[in-house]
């Protein structure tokens, strides 16, 4: 497996191997990013609720 092109072709199975890895990458990335954003959104929401109602940002 020396040349880069040969590596990418995966012995002719590229059309199966790379979408498989692509799916795993997308799903794992989504699960890595999502909780952090959800946490920030929740903290922001709780902060908004903690302010007296007239000072609440829209």
């Amino acid at each position: 497996m020396n040349s880069w092109h040969e590596f990418l072709s995966m012995g002719g199975y590229a059309v199966y191997v790379w979408p498989a890895y692509g799916t795993a990458l997308v799903v794992l990335l989504a699960n890595a990013i999502w909780p952090g954003r959800q946490q920030r959104a929740l903290l922001k929401e709780l902060r908004r609720r903690s302010l007296p109602s007239e000072e609440r940002p829209t």
Binding site: F7, M10, Y13, Y16, V17, A20, T23, L28, N31, Q39
Partner: protein
């Protein structure tokens, strides 16, 4: 040791602990998975029958293993939650479910992409594939049920019961290849009668499984922070946390 464990069970302490540990585990999982991919995609020799197509194993088997492992974590946490009424245990189940569903989805898609060149079809109603699909429905069912109620406690209890009922599916998935003559490969990797895979092939597989396990640890902790915040939002420590943040 018990004091530490008892302290850990208190939400505010756990929230801080999760926040500190999760990033380290996340970076560690990235390293381990990178090493596994390098071994699996680059170093491992092609399979004598399937050529380079077999390399899908390095995401398919680890994610299939994770889909079952996470369900067991979810079911045990659900049982603890129901029996000892520990809110944190239900939070563990709720945090694990989306990750379990994600790994099940990956296992199904990568398996299907592997099946097309090797079996000639993306899908067949084979015992192993069908029970894995049922596992996906169980995860989705758990998540739907968990959020279906105004009162989170009711949602936790209802979905916990579903999680316990669904346990029966796990041995079915595992032993399906033995009980029914399935198109799906038998348990060859670890329990095979003769070592079919040379070390250069199964070592990267081990590394990938460990990498996925570390990834799971990192991001279930991260999701647990959110679950704990949601369940504890009216408590003093959360108000203090919000005021500080």
């Amino acid at each position: 040791m018990f004091i530490w464990f008892h302290k850990l069970a208190s939400p505010p302490y756990f929230y801080k602990f999760a926040g500190i540990l999760a990033p380290w585990l996340a970076w560690l999982s990235l390293l381990v998975i990178a090493a596994g991919l390098y071994g699996g995609l680059w170093l491992a020799p092609p399979d004598y029958q399937q050529g380079d197509g077999f390399r899908i194993i390095y995401v398919h088997v680890p994610s299939a293993w994770m889909s079952m492992f996470i369900y067991m974590v979810m079911a045990v946490a659900a049982a603890i939650g129901l029996i000892w009424r520990m809110k944190l245990a239900h939070a563990v189940s709720a945090a694990a479910a989306p990750l379990g569903a994600s790994f099940t989805f990956i296992a199904l898609v990568t398996g299907s992409l592997w099946g097309k060149p090797m079996w000639g079809t993306y899908w067949v109603w084979d015992a192993r594939l069908t029970s894995e699909l049922i596992l996906l429905f169980l995860y989705v069912g758990y998540m739907a049920l968990n959020h279906a109620f105004e009162d989170r406690r009711t949602g936790d209890r209802a979905s916990a019961i579903l999680a316990l009922v669904g346990i029966v599916n796990i041995p079915i998935i595992h032993y399906s290849v033995k009980w029914w003559n399935t198109l799906h490969q038998g348990a060859t990797v670890f329990f095979g009668p003769r070592a079919e895979m040379p070390p250069s092939m199964y070592i990267p597989l081990f590394i990938m499984i460990i990498g996925f396990m570390v990834y799971f640890a990192a991001f279930i902790l991260k999701r647990l922070q959110v679950e704990v915040l949601q369940r504890e939002r009216n408590t003093a420590w959360v108000r203090a946390l919000v005021a500080k943040s």
